[in-house]
């Protein structure tokens, strides 16, 4: 007998499945597509610890090679002194400020580490308030000032070097329909710093999904779920593509909340106001992924200035692909993967040609696949092409992620839980949402 069905093949679904299986439950994962070859984001030690995993983590050094308009480059290393030397070639002032900036950002990011590996707590909770007070005055002021800020304001406070600000600022706008001058992007910058060593502002990549897919203890089945069955307010199984039904009193969905609750389950089980709010979860996809059959060293970033990024954003606001996009190229198991931002949903321009023109080393490479937001939606199940399923912004973060009514991983349908990247802490932290969800389930059922 199956105790639990996990829908989806994302990293969070796999983590949730294995954490549940370790308590002796018979867990079936229904995967609609093969898992990712590479996972983006920090894997919290709680996740690897709970499952006893040995990961291969890719942490390129330099962690970013920022391309400069004159053909030169700015390399940012894991070693603080080397980075300082790199920066000093362009700005003495910024080189001096770099260690202070790294220290202040790391202090803030560390505050989030424990917050990210547990279910989101009430914002007015005393324990959180004490944790914040322990940051001391400087840290508290930083926190309160930085969270609502734009990443441009944050970086302009510290630095003058455009290439440095561009390369850092990109982490504030990654996968969101906002520009670096939009409020709340400094929070996103911090989000992508959580778990990284001081002075490293790119999340690592790992083989977490691939390992979990190989690992025994969980049953797998490749199929599409067409329906989540609900009886008298309780989940009682799923229906597969061919009509086959599998019973289980526990269904954990790694699929986005909108599809889970409004399409797979019957929305009639929801309060109409909640159904409307679920329909309103913001989830714009803004980036394309292009795979090239070549090789590349490190992590190459094209984001030469904050203004460059802002101009790139201006175009997508009115539904156009950026002519001068933010690009980031990194090695993947099949060659080189390029993140191309901004691309509106349903865009049809020649993205590969633009990437070839702008990134050195790709001139003669062949593009194996070009996936715009609409393709990513179809092929990866990312709603509107948004890899985090719900845009990560302050109004959809922490206890508000993706909605306050769903933030504890539980749904109004008994036995139906949500574990995907739309849940706290969200995409960019690999497996944490799945881990938090599984623990919430175990806490309730044990």
């Amino acid at each position: 007998m199956i105790h639990a069905i996990v829908i989806g093949s994302g990293v969070d679904a796999l983590v949730a499945a294995h954490v549940l299986a370790r308590t002796g439950k018979q867990v079936l994962v229904v995967e609609e597509r093969p898992p990712a070859a590479q996972d983006f984001g920090w894997v919290p030690p709680q996740v690897t610890g709970a499952l006893g995993l040995q990961l291969e983590v890719q942490a390129p050094d330099p962690w970013a090679t920022a391309l400069l308009p004159d053909g030169g480059k700015l390399e940012l290393w894991r070693d603080m002194r080397r980075t300082i030397e790199s920066i000093r070639r362009f700005s003495e002032r910024d080189a001096q400020r770099w260690p202070g900036f790294c220290r202040r950002m790391a202090a803030l990011a560390r505050l989030f580490e424990p917050v990210y590996t547990e279910a989101p707590s009430d914002p007015l909770n005393l324990r959180l308030a004490l944790r914040v007070r322990r940051l001391g005055r400087e840290g508290m002021v930083d926190l309160m000032r930085v969270l609502p800020m734009s990443v441009a304001e944050l970086l302009d406070d510290w630095f003058e070097l455009d290439a440095l600000k561009g390369a850092l600022g990109a982490m504030g706008i990654l996968n969101v329909q906002q520009g670096p001058r939009s409020g709340g992007t400094a929070f996103r910058f911090l989000h992508h710093h959580v778990g990284s060593p001081e002075g490293v502002f790119r999340p690592p990549r790992s083989n977490l999904s691939a390992i979990l897919r190989q690992r025994p203890g969980v049953l797998f089945r490749v199929d599409n779920v067409t329906k989540i069955r609900v009886e008298a307010g309780r989940v009682d199984g799923v229906v597969l593509d061919g009509g086959e039904e599998i019973e289980a009193a526990l269904v954990v969905s790694g699929v986005d909340p909108r599809r889970t609750l409004l399409e797979l389950a019957d929305p009639a089980w929801l309060d109409p106001e909640l159904a409307r709010a679920i329909g309103n979860i913001r989830r714009h996809g803004v980036a394309a992924r292009i795979s090239f059959n070549t090789s590349i060293e490190g992590n190459v970033v094209l984001a030469p200035s904050l203004d460059y990024l802002e101009h790139a954003y201006d175009e997508v606001k009115y539904g156009r692909t950026s002519r001068e996009p933010y690009l980031e190229a990194y090695p993947s198991p099949d060659g080189v993967e390029v993140h191309f931002q901004y691309v509106p949903h349903g865009a049809k321009s020649d993205l590969a040609a633009a990437a070839r023109r702008l990134l050195p080393g790709l001139e003669n490479a062949q593009a194996d696949s070009i996936l715009g937001p609409a393709d990513l939606e179809r092929e990866q199940g990312w709603p509107q092409g948004q890899p985090y399923h719900a845009e990560l912004a302050l109004d959809q973060a922490l206890w508000m992620r993706p909605l306050p009514e769903l933030a504890q991983y539980k749904t109004p349908i008994t036995g139906l839980w949500l574990c995907g990247p739309a849940m706290h802490p969200g995409g960019g932290v690999a497996g944490a949402a799945g881990y938090n969800c599984a623990r919430a389930i175990l806490k309730e059922t044990n």
């Binding site: 007015l124 007070r133 309160m144 000032r145 609502p148 304001e153 606001k317 912004a393 109004d395």
Partner: protein
């Protein structure tokens, strides 16, 4: 050398409110105003013979009702005439009109979208609830969350209790308003572009942000605060212009015993061994006082009048980081005849209300895009009122005055503000307006264009920011104007601040002035 209990630097509305409350408590108060008249940005002037204008700030709605009551402002000549409607003309000859009459308003909204007409009341209720939630916070001296002082800890606990008693759902809605863009917030309510844009416009006023930038939903709420104690959307116009608001407060302050000196520019605040001793006027006159209260904005007060050398380093850094980025301008027109809007030709009740040039959210966002890179918006957002329709004394018989609030006109315009650029801004405004009211070009008798640089030069507001510092989340509450110094005190003993650069911020609200006075008097806020 003369001596007073308290000297107030700047006779803007907050300085005057502060003076009135201090005088009421029996203090000997002297207000020093640099210009020849009081009021700061809330002032009326006969700019062209026979035509009177509220040159800068031009509507009233945020002025705290307790101030009106406690200072008995109506007795001192304050008379507010309500604005009755908001008309948004649309390209192509249609319009969206919002009326004070509920049924009329609903019928008009339904013409654009039945769904929006349904949602509108609920939307009003939500904003009303949020404004009520925030209302008690407006009268608080924000405690420093890092403080260990017993009194501040007590206040922190009180604040925490207040927040914890808020219904969870309402708290989450408040959080959304603090963090969302006005466009996203309105998208979750409405579908009609004209309605969303006209509402979104109040979220960009005074900011250097576009309607799609998070943080603007709060500014929208801030502008709803005024609707609380009167009629729904109770924006009004002060009889005689906004100068009469200042005149009424000044009269109340004088009646309570405060002394007000105009044409008395303060050159510096006199600080000795970390204590404010008084002020020194231009020309060298020294005025001693037990306490000095500055109504000037934080940059002007601390980096200008006090001087960096008298300040702790980290405080000076915070003040330097405080963002102003003025983005609004005013165009004041003397008209030979009333404008005739293509969508609603001729005279009508709509001319007694506001006219908003905000046809779509994309229109506002494009206006912002220009400003972001240092350009004047080619087609700006405008909020237009015709005060002479409500108060005929503002213009000669048969003639009219028109007040146009314009955004965006960035303070840091490329190449700096010159006479040519000022006129270019005026032309952009008239050309845009002529698309909706073609007779405007021939109706204009005189034109006054006030840029952010003019606001800075004339009124003294740094970078022309109408709120004495941007109303963004990172510059609000216990961070306004600097961490640890949000309770109207300053690192200089005996020096206080009462301008809208302090909590709760801008608009002709008066809350900062009142809070500062009560804090100085040692009352618990």
């Amino acid at each position: 050398m003369t001596s007073h209990d308290i000297v107030i630097v700047g006779g803007g509305h907050n300085g005057l409110v502060c003076a009135a409350y201090l005088a009421r408590a029996g203090k000997r108060v002297l207000v020093l105003e640099r210009r020849e008249r009081v009021g700061g940005a809330a002032m009326s002037e006969e700019v062209f013979p026979g035509f009177r204008f509220s040159v800068f700030s031009y509507v009233v709605s945020l002025l705290r009702p307790e101030i009106i009551r406690e200072l008995e402002l109506p007795r001192h000549g304050l008379h507010i005439l309500p604005l009755e409607s908001t008309l948004t003309p649309l390209p192509g000859g249609d319009y969206l009109a919002q009326w004070n009459d509920h049924d009329q308003n609903r019928r008009e909204l339904a013409r654009h979208s039945p769904r929006d007409a349904e949602a509108y009341d609920e939307f009003g209720v939500e904003l009303h609830q949020m404004a009520r939630l925030i209302k008690p916070i407006l009268g608080i001296a924000p405690p420093d969350p890092a403080s260990l002082r017993p009194r501040e800890l007590l206040d922190l606990a009180r604040l925490a209790r207040m927040f914890r008693s808020i219904d969870k759902k309402k708290f989450n809605t408040l959080w959304r308003l603090l963090t969302l863009s006005s466009a996203d917030y309105l998208d979750s309510w409405f579908e009609s572009e004209a309605l969303k844009a006209t509402k979104a416009a109040s979220g960009i006023i005074g900011t250097m942000l576009g309607p799609r930038s998070p943080g603007t939903a709060y500014v929208l709420l801030h502008h709803y605060m005024g609707e609380l104690d009167g009629v729904f959307r109770a924006w009004g116009f002060a009889k005689g212009g906004n100068g009469s608001v200042s005149a009424a407060i000044a009269s109340a302050a004088r009646a309570l015993g405060a002394e007000i000196r105009t044409s008395a520019p303060v050159e510096r605040i006199w600080v000795e061994s970390g204590r404010a001793k008084g002020v020194v006027l231009e020309g060298g006159e020294e005025i001693r006082a037990e306490s000095v209260v500055s109504g000037a904005d934080p940059r002007r007060t601390f980096l200008g009048l006090v001087g960096e050398k008298n300040l702790p380093g980290d405080f000076a850094e915070s003040i330097k980081r405080f963002k102003f980025r003025g983005s609004s301008a005013k165009v004041n027109l003397a008209l030979g005849e009333l404008p005739s809007f293509t969508c609603m030709p001729g005279r009508g009740p709509h001319l007694r209300g506001a006219v908003s040039i905000s046809p779509s959210v994309a229109y506002l966002e494009q206006a912002y895009d220009d400003a972001k890179y240092g350009q004047i918006s080619r087609r700006p957002y405008m909020d237009i009122v015709i005060p002479s329709m409500l108060d005929p004394a503002m213009a000669p018989p048969g003639k009219h005055v028109m007040s146009i609030f314009v955004q965006y006109a960035p303070y840091r315009v490329n190449g700096g503000w010159t006479d040519a650029r000022r006129e270019a801004l005026g032309d952009a405004v008239i050309d845009t307006l002529a698309e909706y009211a073609p007779n405007i070009k021939s109706a204009v008798l005189h034109r006054q264009v006030v840029t952010p640089a003019d606001i800075e030069r004339v009124v003294g507001l740094t970078e022309g920011n109408i709120f004495q510092g941007e109303l963004s989340l990172q510059q609000m509450f216990f961070l306004r104007p600097a961490p640890a110094w949000s309770r109207y005190r300053t690192p200089i003993e005996g020096l206080w601040q009462c301008g809208s650069g302090t909590h709760p911020g801008g608009g002709v609200m008066g809350a900062s002035g009142r809070n500062a006075a009560l804090a100085l008097l040692g009352e618990r806020l």
